[in-house]
């Protein structure tokens, strides 16, 4: 029987009710959150991770589009204050972008610097990070926001392998994860290959949310569709 965890997005759990009257994010799954630019994908991922922290679920956050500082600032815009969780080491951050601008990140036990141009190092740190959060709780969340910069700096084939490696590590450790991706930034074939890695996908187009889910024991795809809006408190599914 599939277990679900709360998404943290108001209206989402109700939208995605399955036959057993449960909805939300399938536990131990990895979900692709994709769509055109500026449609709330990062907000969705941030909201998901913050909700987990509120419920004592540690989080491994890999940020490749925004620095750790920017992440903190963007989360604060919605009154999601993560500093405390960083201090308590329940939020483990891998910053893959600061290094490129030459900014010096002060590394700690749960704040690590890497580089999108160095995916092997990034995945080594994902491995270490997933072990670290697993030690705190075997119910943990993970976010990779996003694939875009990885594609900008590395060959498509390598990024595909990186994604597989990431998915494998989080899954093996029992985590539930989200990966953000902006449609149209890579070739149609690569995009198709990326989507094929996921049994669960969420598409945000600025107005509509489409959740597609396929389970191992089901042949058909479950579709859930609605509209959504971005408020001062984050994303809300209508």
């Amino acid at each position: 029987m599939i277990k679900f965890i709360e998404s943290g997005i108001p209206g989402f759990n109700e939208l995605t009710l399955f036959n057993n009257n449960e909805g939300g994010i399938p536990e131990k799954s990895i979900i692709l959150v994709y769509g055109p630019p500026k449609t709330g994908k990062s907000i969705f991922c941030n909201q998901f991770s913050y909700h987990g922290l509120l419920n004592h679920e540690p989080c491994l956050y890999v940020t490749t589009d925004q620095s750790m500082k920017q992440l903190q600032s963007n989360m604060m815009d919605f009154q999601w204050y993560i500093e405390d969780y960083i201090q308590k080491q329940t939020l483990y951050i891998i910053d893959g972008i600061s290094h490129l601008s030459g900014a010096k990140l002060i590394e700690t036990n749960n704040v690590k610097s890497s580089s999108v141009g160095n995916p092997a190092d990034m995945m080594v740190k994902v491995g270490i990070g997933s072990r670290s959060v697993y030690k705190k709780s075997n119910h943990f969340r993970s976010v990779l926001d996003s694939i875009n910069t990885l594609l900008a700096f590395n060959p498509d084939q390598m990024v595909m392998r990186v994604l597989k490696a990431y998915i494998r590590r989080i899954s093996e450790a029992g985590g539930t994860g989200m990966i953000a991706y902006t449609e149209g930034i890579t070739s149609p074939e690569t995009e198709k290959n990326i989507k094929s890695l996921f049994d669960n996908t969420i598409r945000l187009d600025g107005q509509n949310i489409l959740y597609e889910s396929r389970f191992e024991d089901a042949n058909e795809l479950n579709n859930f569709k609605s509209t959504y809006s971005i408020t001062d408190n984050g994303l809300v599914v209508n």
Partner: protein, 310 residues
């Protein structure tokens, strides 16, 4: 004595005093005449300085000896007297060598050799022997520079002696600088400083293989070799360096090949296999030149100089 007579004679001429060589006509001196006189004074000074340098040397006052030779060198440079300049450089090289300042001696001898070659003097062969006897290995490029015009057969016999093994701590920063030229290397070098460096590096190596990052894989091999070199496991390090070279070659990464060759040469140097030292250093420099990588060549030369430093 000769110099004193010369000076006396010049004063006689200027004073207009009687001399058996004096002509009946009143002599007029041009600027050129005075310039010639001035040059004669300078030449005399240079010769006196060389004599003084010799006396200081005999009294083991090497500092003053060098000071006088340097002044003589300046004079001959000004006078554009290449032959004498080369002679002075040769003497300076001898003094530096006696004081075990081999790098400085080598520079002096090289400069002397260059001049003797330019003026086609047979003294260059004496200088050649002195360079060889210091026992410094040179790259093909340097051989080309030094032995300009000498037959290639001669350049193959450049290195004849085995220098002392380097103090590893002195060259470790140079090795890191060399490896640091490769993409992502700085990050992986930090693994080498972790608590369990080989474990961290092997983990990263496995991950690199998983995601198909061949460049990272090869770089990690070099760093694993470096870690073993630090532990004096030179034979093991050589295996890593060679495997890295093969990998870089397979992916046509010339910079990686150049860096690997340098490290292979370094490992052979520690082992004492000088033939392979030279061939690998030459290969490395040749690749850097092919890539027009001046910075890389510079870094390579720093490593080689650090290895051969006193």
């Amino acid at each position: 004595m000769k110099e004193l007579l010369l000076i006396t004679g010049i004063f006689d001429r200027l004073s207009g005093g009687s001399s058996s060589e004096k002509t009946n006509e009143q002599e007029e001196y041009t600027i050129e005449d005075y310039q010639e006189l001035l040059n004669e004074y300078k030449d005399a000074e240079a010769k006196i300085r060389i004599n003084m340098a010799t006396l200081y040397f005999e009294n083991e006052n090497f500092k003053e000896s060098m000071n006088n030779l340097e002044k003589a060198n300046e004079i001959y440079t000004e006078l554009k007297d290449l032959g004498k300049k080369a002679l002075v450089l040769d003497l300076m090289g001898d003094i530096n060598r006696i004081n075990k300042k081999n790098n400085s001696a080598l520079k002096n001898y090289r400069d002397a050799y260059r001049i003797y070659s330019e003026i086609k003097s047979d003294h260059k062969y004496e200088i050649q022997e002195k360079i060889d006897s210091i026992g410094v290995s040179v790259t093909a490029r340097e051989a080309e520079t030094i032995y300009d015009g000498v037959s290639p057969k001669r350049t193959e016999n450049i290195t004849v002696t085995k220098p002392m093994a380097p103090d590893y701590t002195k060259i470790s920063s140079n090795i890191e600088e060399v490896i640091g030229m490769l993409k992502g290397a700085d990050t992986y070098l930090s693994y080498a400083k972790s608590e369990n460096p080989m474990e961290a590096l092997e983990n990263a190596y496995e991950m690199s293989g998983e995601i198909g990052d061949d460049t990272a894989k090869s770089t990690l091999l070099l760093i694993m070799g470096y870690v073993n070199l630090e532990k004096s496991k030179t034979e093991i390090s050589l295996k890593y360096f060679k495997e890295a070279f093969e990998n870089f070659h397979e992916i046509d990464d010339k910079l990686g090949e150049a860096v690997s060759s340098l490290l292979i040469g370094t490992a052979y140097y520690i082992i004492g296999d000088m033939d392979n030292v030279n061939s690998n250093f030459r290969k490395s420099i040749a690749i850097f030149r092919e890539l027009k990588d001046v910075f890389g060549e510079d870094v390579a030369m720093r490593l080689m100089n650090a290895i051969y430093e006193d």
